[in-house]
Structure formats: C-alpha cells, structure tokens
C-alpha cells in the first residue's frame, strides 16, 4: 500500500438539470414568533415595559409634586388635549418649527450645491461649518433677541442655525462619497452644475441627506423647546416649551410631564410616519441602505 493519498478514479456522469427546481416549502411559524418578527410590536413592548416601570417607581415614591405616575400623566395629557390647550401649544410650536426647518433646508441646499460645483463654495462650506457647527444654537439666542426682538423671528433664527450646519455637513459628506464613475456617467450625458447636482449627486447622496435631515429635525426640536423655556411667550402665543415652563412654576408637575410626553410623541410620530416610510420607498428600495 502506498503512503501517497491516491483518490479513486470514479465513473463520470451527466444529468439533465430540472429547470423548475423544487422550492423550499414555507413552514408557518407559530403566532408568537411571527408577532415577535414585527418591529413595531417589539417597540410597543419596550414602551409598555417603560411605562410599567415608571408607574411602579411613581407609586413607590408616592410624591405627586416630584414624580407623577404614568396614569396621572396620561390623564393630564388627555385633559390637555380635550380642553384644546395642549394641542394649541403644539400647533404654535410646530408652525414655528416647520418654518425654521424649511428655511434651514433651503439654506443648506444652496450651500452644499455651491460647494459641490465650485472650489470657493467648498472652502466656504468647510470654514463655516467648522466655525458654527460646534456653536450651540441656544447660545445665539441672546443675540437673536437683540436683533429680532421677542418673537417668532428670533426663534426661526436659532432653528435655522440648528438645522443648517449638521444638514449641510451631512449632505456635503454624502456628495463627496458619490462614486467617481457615477459622476463621470452623468457628465458623459452632458450634465453639469445644478443639473448634475439634482440628477446625480442628490439622489446618490440621499442616505447621508436623510440622516442629516433627521439630525436637523432633532436639533430643531431641542432648540425650539429650550428657546421657549428661556423667553416663553409673545402676546399669549406661547408654544410647548412655554407650556412646560408655566406649569412648572405653578407646580402642576403632571402637566409638565404631559408637555414632555407631547414632545416625545411628536418625535416618535415624525420618525415613524415621515422618515421611516421615506427611507423604505427610497434608499432601502434602491439597495443603498440595509
């Protein structure tokens, strides 16, 4: 017997392959497993657990002034909605927020489009973002009050500041990571300048732009609520931040919590009703993001 491994010589064979190969049979999962596969059910489960823990803590503390429970907050929230006061405040805040957000988006688009098509635009964007991005919007509020007075102008100013820089930075980063081949393909068809930006760069950079929009949205909310806490109201037209501040002064802690809950709920709503569907019909469908 030889020590060298000698594989045996075997018979050759040729098959005619079946064009309709049998597919794996789908075995239905048990109901509990299928439910657990649903992301929204898992998330609701998390929320329920948090609410239970909160209610338990509040009962154990037994101090309405410091920590009202979930049930109490829900009641305050419901009565706030029923009386229309809370919804009014939300409407005022959202109106200001949307104006500032839209203005910030337009400004960011102009800046990044300039940066994408000219060298001086790129330098401008890089300099401005490195200067202003670390600057908290709320720190500009005293200055804004000086320039625009008490009122909507100041709020919009700080919101634009909060949205503009992170969004511009994100979009510009996205533009820079667009593959060179794709740019060349666009230029091959005679696209340049603004048309190249609109038809190639913006869609190709959409994952970064969307995440910039999300960050911008969160920054805008924070800034708005904080700004309203600082100077509150003009002519009885206070927003959600003012509602929270006022109720804290009057020691309606449950209403403070209801106001905070409103901020959180709007955040969840926007994430799940606006951004997530937007992602699933765009970047997810195009295979640009998992």
């Amino acid at each position: 017997m030889s020590l060298v491994l000698d594989p045996p010589v075997r018979q050759e064979y040729v098959h005619v392959t079946n064009t309709a190969a049998p597919r794996a049979v789908d075995i239905p999962l048990p109901l509990a497993r299928r439910a657990w596969e649903q992301a929204w059910l898992r998330k609701i489960f998390i929320l329920v657990v948090l609410a239970v823990v909160w209610e338990g803590l509040a009962r154990w503390q037994n101090n309405d002034l410091l920590l009202p429970g979930f049930v109490q907050t829900a009641q305050a929230f419901a009565s706030g909605v029923a009386s229309g006061e809370l919804l009014d405040r939300v409407r005022i805040s959202l109106a200001v927020l949307l104006q500032g957000y839209a203005a910030g988006i337009v400004a960011a688009f102009v800046l990044t489009a300039l940066a994408a098509s000219t060298r001086i635009g790129r330098d401008l964007l890089e300099t401005l973002t490195s200067m202003f991005n670390p600057l908290p919007a709320i720190a500009l509020l005293p200055l804004a009050l000086l320039w625009f007075g008490l009122g909507k102008g100041s709020l919009i100013f700080v919101i634009v500041h909060a949205v503009l820089w992170p969004l511009a930075l994100g979009a510009y980063g996205g533009f820079q990571s667009v593959p060179e081949t794709l740019r060349m393909a666009g230029r091959n068809y005679g696209l340049s300048g603004l048309r190249l930006v609109l038809h190639i760069l913006v869609p190709a950079a959409l994952p970064s732009i969307l995440s910039g929009l999300k960050i911008g949205w969160a920054f805008a909310w924070r800034t708005l609520i904080a700004a309203e806490l600082v100077f509150g109201t003009t002519g009885g037209q206070g927003g959600l931040g003012w509602y929270i501040f006022q109720n804290r002064n009057e020691l309606y802690t449950d209403k403070v919590f209801a106001g905070l809950a409103a901020v959180i709920l709007i955040g969840l709503l926007v994430e799940n009703v606006v951004f997530r569907p937007l992602e699933s019909v765009t970047v997810k469908r195009w295979g640009m993001q998992r």
Binding site: P179, T181, L182, M184, A185, R187, N188, Y189, G190, L191, R195, H199, I200, P203, A204, L206, T282, R285, W286, G287, M288
Partner: protein, 285 residues
C-alpha cells in the same frame, strides 16, 4: 514574424483621430506621444499592461481628461469635454444609478440629452433591453441584478444613445470568467448586427484578439505605442487554434521584451500583476 502586407486604403476618413496625445497626472506622464486612427465600424482595442495609460487614453477620448500635448478629434471636431456622442461603458458596476430601474437607467441619457420625449425614450429603452437579453427585468433595481446583467444594462444604455463611438473601459474585467466569455460573444453578435464603432480597453491578450479587429499595443511607464496589429481574422471560435496561439505569443513578445529573448520567466515576473495573470494563462493554454 513577417508583417502582413495591406494595400493602403483610399477615400475613407478616420472617425476618431488621436494625434500625438500626451497625458499627465501632475508630474507623472501617463502616455507619451500616442497617435492612432479609428475608422467607422472599427472594433479598436487598446491593449497593454497596467500603467500603460490605456484607460487614461479612453478617458481623454471621452473628454474627462485634457491632453497635456496633442489632441483627439472626432469627425474633425476637437474633443474638449464629455458629450453624448461618445458614450462610455465603465468597468465599475456603480455606473448605474441605483435609484433607477433598468428601464429608467436606459432612458436616463435619452431624457437628459432631450433627444426623445418620455414616451419614445421608453419605447427605445424596451427595445434595447430586449436586445441585450434582459427582457422581463425592466422594473428591477440594479442591486438585484448580477454583475453580468448590470454590464448588459450599461451596454443597452450606451447603444440606445446610438453614439458616434462606443467607449468601453475594461467592461468585462470585473466579471467571472464564464460570464466574461458570454459577454464577449454577445458583444460580437451585437456588432455583427449593428456595426457600431467601438474603442475597447483591455489588459487581456485573448480578449483583445477576440473582441477587436485592430489592436494598439501600448508599453508602460509612460504609455507609448509599441505596435498596431490586425486581429479581424479571430473570433471566439478561433481561441484554441494555432494561429491564435501564435498571435498571442507574438503580442506577448512585443509587450514584454525582445522577441529574440523569447518569453522568459523573468519577463513574466516583471509584468504587473493584473496583466501577469492573463499572460500566465496564455502561456499554459
């Protein structure tokens, strides 16, 4: 080997003329004084190892790079920027916008150049998608397609534009060997039917012989013209034949050293890795 004797042709003007083209990237010279003529209906191949500037020459013909000296003209017009009369098929799969379906991808340049309205562009796109064998995939997004299918989309998109000249930059290099052979065959068939003008860049000697009717050999560092050869007599079916082998050896000899020295192992080792793989294959096959 003796050169073939060909009677000089008269009366036909070349479509694309490269005249003493030198390309530079900063201080490094990619090509030096390269001249060649491409005639209508040519399948003109730029062949050479990496570093010979063949891709740069194609990009210059597409208008993406400006020559430091010399110039390229098409139909007598000097090329000074990208244009839809010269459509490029790149090697990279990300040449297809991922947010467009196969059909929208093919329609995209037709609409961008305002050559056709939406209705006619759609009609033409469907025609070309069927032509490259992608019927039924019109509404698929590129990320759901295989590499070979993506290149087919790029080819359909280019042909739908009916460009003066089709520029292909190693279009099959990122495909597996089986798919590559398939695509070469397909391209040959499309050419038989349509007789478009093709400028094709490759680093594979076999691919050059199979795809091209005329081959410009470039030597590296910087890219210079080594020879211009005919290969119209070869097709995919001649790949194993003695003539084909001889042509392969001849090109190999021209590219990597003195033919008198033969093709020593040292010459192969000295060849850049990308080309080396193909050279090895041609040596043993």
């Amino acid at each position: 080997m003796a050169f073939q004797v060909v009677r000089p042709h008269t009366g036909v003007a070349p479509l694309l003329v490269a005249d003493g083209v030198s390309l530079e990237y900063g201080a490094t010279r990619a090509t030096h004084d390269v001249s060649f003529n491409v005639y209508r209906g040519d399948r003109f191949v730029l062949l050479g190892p990496s570093g010979c500037g063949k891709s740069s020459l194609l990009k210059a013909a597409a208008g993406f790079i400006k020559p430091a000296a010399g110039g390229i003209s098409i139909d007598g017009r000097r090329i000074d920027g990208p244009g839809p009369d010269r459509i490029v098929v790149f090697q990279e799969f990300d040449q297809l916008p991922p947010w467009k379906t196969v059909k929208e991808n093919v329609m995209f340049p037709l609409l961008m150049t305002k050559r056709l309205n939406r209705h006619h562009a759609e009609e033409r796109a469907m025609h070309w998608i069927a032509k490259v064998g992608l019927g039924g995939f019109e509404n698929a997004h590129p990320h759901t397609l295989s590499g070979g299918m993506k290149q087919r989309v790029a080819i359909a998109r280019a042909l739908a534009m009916q460009p003066e000249i089709l520029l292909m930059d190693e279009p099959f290099a990122a495909l597996d060997a089986l798919t590559r052979r398939n695509m070469q065959e397909e391209l040959g068939r499309l050419w038989e039917e349509l007789r478009f003008t093709l400028l094709f860049v490759t680093h594979s000697i076999e691919e050059a012989l199979v795809v091209g009717n005329r081959i410009l050999l470039l030597s590296p560092h910087p890219g210079q013209v080594r020879a211009e050869l005919n290969s119209h007599q070869f097709g995919l079916d001649s790949a194993g034949g003695a003539d084909f082998q001889a042509a392969t050896q001849r090109i190999h000899g021209l590219l990597f050293g003195d033919p008198a020295q033969g093709h020593s192992a040292a010459a192969v080792d000295a060849a850049p890795a990308a080309a080396g793989a193909h050279i090895e294959r041609s040596r043993v096959s």
